[in-house]
């Protein structure tokens, strides 16, 4: 196919402007990039026609073209000649041909697939590939069960994705930016430019700022806390106590909850016996509810008034509705008890609960597009702040209770989900979920990636990989166990270790665990290939390196298919080459536009093209005549053309993508606010946890390995994390936070953003409360050393500030590094982490990121300097 690259007339903004998509963070905003007369990209604007970001960009997106002309770009395949690997070791790169490189990698693929395809480790957080059908089809084509997002899988969504699928059939959720009037951030930064849906939500909230009350519960006055109406500082890792205290207040003191919603759209009325399990109808096996008039009835018998509270006698068995179980369960979380755990004053606990409950407007409705809907303008936001903890899943089970109790799920003002389980399909999105036999929202294994849901739990069995996926029936990821198994191979009976790794857009060495731990892990993998634009810390560990294209050189369709929630338009668009890469790609005569071209070559050389074509047909929901013939070989461009036509219509193939490329459509009210339009129920009482725990315990007993199962419980609790009981001198918590002008770690080498960082939110700094600084004789500007209870160390510049909890040392992002262009003196928070049993959540696969630490002055600085 003759491809038209660099089409510069696809917008109404004149010559030189190309419509594309940003890749820097998960938001993937629509952009217009400008190419000057020197064929250099010199300016990026938000795409004004794009309903996702409305023509706006953040600092990162504005600076995104930097790096295109980086002198450190990798331009040819390279082979390592130094067999020694490690930090600071020169790999001795020598250039090799594409053929040589591809054949060698394909050979390893073939051998590994013949042995066990699960021994291929594909690590990638390439957000273009992950959200489309591409990454999933590539790994499925190889016979792998999924890919690993690696670092993200250790820190981010562990208690998010499964919880959201359980209660709202969504992978991500955000507060409704248009109708919300009360937003409670728990360690998250919704409303600032450090979250999802940033451009849209920040805009909506800013222009309505005086109508919205925003509260940030956070150990640090983050950029979202700074713009909030109230910052509630909290001791790290104790949020669940505050949340359960609020739940206690709402149910037991204030009586504020949406009874109608709980009865009809959750399992709150399901009767629970003394063994913690549902009481079931002997005939149908359906869970029972208590009908005030007719006694026990199957939940789906049309009972109009199921009891939420009370204790009932069901054929001699004592039973309470799940809601009553919850009410009784949270009674111990009195405001005073919560204060003792969280440092949040008891009065504040009471007030937050009252504010949240009153703002929920229970019983009120609002008319949207002529349809009357429940109006619940109070909601919450959380991500890594609650997730990166030892008892992560319990934190998630706690936080979801708040929107669930008030019926604030997928209705105006509430928590709005992004149902992207339907990859590759923009039109005809299924917004409703099939209900399980118990009437519950049922999603399970999500998409083509290795991302698991929470309910229904997966079956357990002997672990097939170091990720221990089979022993994590409720976890979205098991990545952190790979590091644990590498550090302590005998702990779990040495599950099969990866034979090879392909690494793409995931700087594991810097962005996951301590570098020496990740280094040991990677060194144990016999063969490592990396695809990279320039040498990152992880690239330097590879045996073969293949060049990649910059995102402004990429052509990847459908990278964005709906994330903006609620009352906004659908959109679909992708990336196209703003400039054509001068790097020769894997296919002779074909412009190099995407790493998928490499994967297609590898699949071809490993004889896996038929499997890939089949996988793609399934995952992208391909229809005739666009389906790929399993026995045919297609170029990347042909696949894109078919995929686009299949997804958006026959007139919207590759030519359309390259010349226009933005599809938008109005949503129906059902799509905007789906909850009132489907029957499947959310969960208040996670009964399935009881059997899951039992199954798991049976499995690990058979395997004869230690495993923690205490946190498999139907109702959440706050439990102390490993750093909670701190002893001097390591009596502080060290944590990190996100900043608006960096995304993950891959913007650190952007010269504009790093210069801005040096001036502004210095990544070399650690925030210390003046009280703490005084007690340790630390002055503003001192060079200090942070030392964890695990003996790991980082040096930083002290920023003595009122903006941090006195028990907390707050660092920013995960800076530092040793590859060319890195600022070695930045703080790398990940280097402080502990990869051990004590810090890992055995339910969600999260790693605790509140580490017990000490801080001492190493060298006195100039007071006042900042």
């Amino acid at each position: 196919m003759e491809t038209v690259l660099g089409a510069r007339t696809g917008t109404a903004y004149g010559d030189g402007w190309v419509r594309s998509a940003c890749t820097i963070c998960m938001n993937r905003c629509g952009i217009l990039a400008h190419v000057n007369d020197d064929e250099v990209v010199d300016k990026i604007l938000g795409d004004p026609d794009n309903p996702h970001n409305h023509g706006r960009t953040c600092a990162k997106g504005d600076a995104g073209f930097e790096g295109l002309t980086d002198p450190d770009r990798i331009t040819t395949p390279l082979r390592r000649t130094n067999p020694d690997k490690g930090v600071g070791v020169d790999p001795g790169w020598v250039p090799i041909s594409w053929d040589e490189a591809l054949d060698e990698i394909a050979g390893h693929l073939r051998d590994t697939i013949a042995d066990d395809p699960e021994k291929i480790l594909y690590t990638s957080f390439d957000i273009y590939h992950l959200r489309g059908a591409l990454a999933a089809s590539w790994v499925t084509g190889l016979g792998m069960p999924g890919y690993s997002t690696w670092s993200a899988a250790i820190f981010c969504g562990n208690n998010v994705h499964g919880i959201l699928y359980m209660n709202q059939n969504a992978f991500e959720s955000n507060p409704d930016p248009i109708y919300s009037r009360y937003i409670l951030n728990f360690g998250a930064q919704f409303g600032s430019v450090v979250h999802y849906d940033t451009m849209h939500s920040t805009h909506e909230l800013s222009v309505r700022r005086s109508d919205v009350r925003m509260v940030s519960v956070d150990p640090v006055c983050s950029s979202a806390a700074a713009v909030a109406d109230e910052w509630v500082p909290i001791r790290p890792g104790t949020d669940a106590a505050l949340i359960l205290g609020m739940v206690d207040q709402l149910i037991n003191e204030l009586g504020i909850y949406d009874a109608e919603f709980l009865k009809n759209s959750t399992n709150a009325a399901y009767l629970v016996g003394t063994d913690g399990r549902y009481l079931r109808d002997p005939r149908t096996g359906k869970p029972l509810v208590w009908d005030e008039a007719n006694g026990p009835q199957p939940f789906d018998a049309g009972t109009a008034n199921a009891a939420l509270t009370g204790t009932f006698d069901v054929d001699g068995a004592e039973a309470r509705p799940g809601f009553q179980m919850l009410a009784d369960h949270v009674r111990s979380y009195t405001p005073e008890y919560v204060e003792s755990i969280t440092t949040v004053p008891a009065e504040t606990v009471r007030r937050l609960a009252r504010e949240f409950g009153e703002a929920a407007c229970i019983g009120e409705t609002i008319t949207v597009d002529g349809v009357e809907l429940p109006y619940r303008p109070a909601t919450v936001a959380w991500y890594r702040g609650l997730s990166a903890h030892k008892h992560s899943m319990l934190n998630g089970m706690a936080i979801i209770l708040l929107p669930t109790l008030i019926g604030g799920i997928d209705v105006p003002g509430g928590l709005l989900g992004d149902p992207w389980g339907l990859i590759g399909k923009v039109k005809d999105l299924e917004y409703t979920s099939k209900a399980s036999d118990d009437g519950l929202i049922s999603q399970g294994f999500i998409g083509g990636g290795r991302v698991g849901g929470l309910y229904p739990p997966r079956p357990t069995g002997p672990p097939k990989t170091t990720e221990m996926w089979e022993l994590l029936p409720c976890a979205p990821y098991g990545t952190v166990f790979s590091l644990l198994n590498s550090e302590q191979p005998e702990l779990f009976g040495a599950p099969p270790f990866p034979s090879m790794m392909i690494n793409f857009n995931s700087n594991m060495m810097k962005s996951s665990g301590p570098p020496e731990v990740v280094e040991r892990f990677i060194k144990r993998i016999p063969f490592v290939a990396a695809i990279a634009k320039r040498f990152e810390e992880t690239t330097l560990m590879a045996d073969i390196v293949l060049p990649d294209v910059h995102y402004l050189e990429r052509m990847t369709p459908l990278v964005y298919q709906h994330l903006a929630s609620g009352d906004s338009r659908h959109s679909a668009y992708g990336a196209k080459p703003v400039v054509q890469s001068s790097i020769e790609g894997p296919v002779a005569g074909e412009p190099f536009v995407d790493a998928m071209q490499i994967y297609l070559e590898l699949l071809k050389r490993a004889d896996r093209l038929p499997q890939f074509n089949e996988a793609f047909n399934n995952i992208a929901k391909m229809r005739d005549p666009y389906r790929l013939d399993p026995d045919a070989s297609y170029s990347y461009f042909e696949i894109c053309d078919r995929w686009l036509r299949n997804t958006l219509g026959d007139d919207k193939g590759l030519d359309w993508h390259l010349s226009d490329g933005l599809w938008t459509e109005d949503k129906t009210v059902e799509q905007k606010f789906p909850r009132p339009f489907f029957d499947a129920r959310a969960q208040v009482y996670c009964e399935f946890m009881i059997d899951t725990k039992q199954n798991l315990e049976n499995t690990v007993e058979e395997l004869g390995i230690p495993w923690e199962t205490d946190d498999y419980q139907p109702l959440p609790d706050w439990k102390p994390g490993p750093a909670y009981e701190r002893t001097a001198p390591h009596d502080l918590f060290v944590t990190n936070m996100k900043v608006p002008n960096h995304a993950l770690s891959h913007t650190h080498k952007n010269s504009i953003l790093s210069t801005l960082s040096n001036r502004h939110n210095d990544l070399k700094s650690v925030w210390i409360n003046p009280k703490t600084a005084d007690a340790r004789g630390i002055s503003h500007g001192d060079l200090v050393q942070i030392e964890t209870s695990g003996g790991r160390k980082q040096t930083a510049t002290a920023r003595v500030t009122q903006l941090v909890h006195p028990e907390v040392l707050a660092t920013q992002g995960c800076g530092g590094g040793w590859s060319s262009g890195s600022s070695g003196d930045e703080v790398n928070f990940n280097a402080l982490l502990n990869i051990d049993v004590e810090h890992i959540d055995f339910v969600s696969g999260a790693l605790d990121c509140a580490i017990a630490a000490d801080v001492r002055t190493v060298r006195s600085g100039r007071g006042g300097a900042r």
Binding site: D42, G61, D62
Partner: protein, 221 residues
């Protein structure tokens, strides 16, 4: 007459520094110079502490002290109120830098990060630095121009200034919080005038300096 002005609703700012960077890439300012940053400061004591944000840029003053102080005539105020720096004329006395109460003038020092003058532009280590050296004059002072080149482009091409992204200052276009409004202060019906009227008038920075700024604020902390 037209008097271009910017109204910044400081209460909306989320401190994301998008404007800071959009300005830098639009104007290709020297790497160490920031024409339009968001300054921030702490307020209060823990736990009642917070961080405040304030976007700042050239105030395009009616009585511009930089223009008054400039010996070479490099700094001028256009008829539409925009204060411009002609870097080819500037002698680098930096009198303007001590005269401006807002710190809005930026001296482009040769900081030794880039090859000497006359070296090929490709020698510059990054796109922003390369273009800074092509677009700006070392030893001269440069500044925010309200993206006058975009305004002029818009006027020449019939685009609505303050609305169309190619005819509006970069900091205004990029701002996710819609903090900034740009328009004609002399037109009582303009977006800026109406916004000011709706907020009981604007405030200015350093009112004691009596510079009569065209950059005005509402919602100042």
């Amino acid at each position: 007459m037209t008097r271009w002005g910017m109204v910044i609703d400081a209460a909306r700012c989320v401190g994301c520094q998008a404007c800071t960077v959009a300005c830098k890439t639009e104007n290709q300012s020297p790497l160490d110079a920031w024409y339009a940053p968001v300054v921030e400061w702490e307020e209060g004591e823990f736990p009642d502490a917070t961080l405040n944000y304030l976007p700042v840029l050239c105030n395009h003053c009616e009585d511009a002290p930089c223009v008054t102080a400039c010996p070479s005539g490099a700094l001028t105020r256009r008829d539409d109120g925009i204060v411009m720096a002609d870097e080819d004329v500037c002698i680098g006395s930096r009198a303007c830098m001590t005269a401006c109460p807002y710190g809005a003038l930026h001296f482009f020092e040769d900081r030794g990060t880039v090859a000497v003058e006359g070296a090929p532009a490709e020698a510059a280590p990054s796109v922003p630095e390369r273009y800074a050296h092509q677009r700006h004059v070392r030893g001269a002072v440069s500044k925010c121009t309200y993206c006058a080149h975009k305004i002029d482009f818009g006027l020449e091409n019939g685009l609505e200034v303050g609305v169309h992204p190619l005819a509006t200052p970069a900091c205004v276009v990029t701002c996710p919080a819609e903090c900034r409004i740009f328009g004609d202060l002399d037109d009582p019906d303009s977006n800026v005038s109406q916004y000011l009227a709706g907020h009981g008038g604007g405030e200015v920075l350093r009112p004691d300096a009596k510079t009569l700024p065209s950059t005005q604020y509402v919602g100042l902390p």
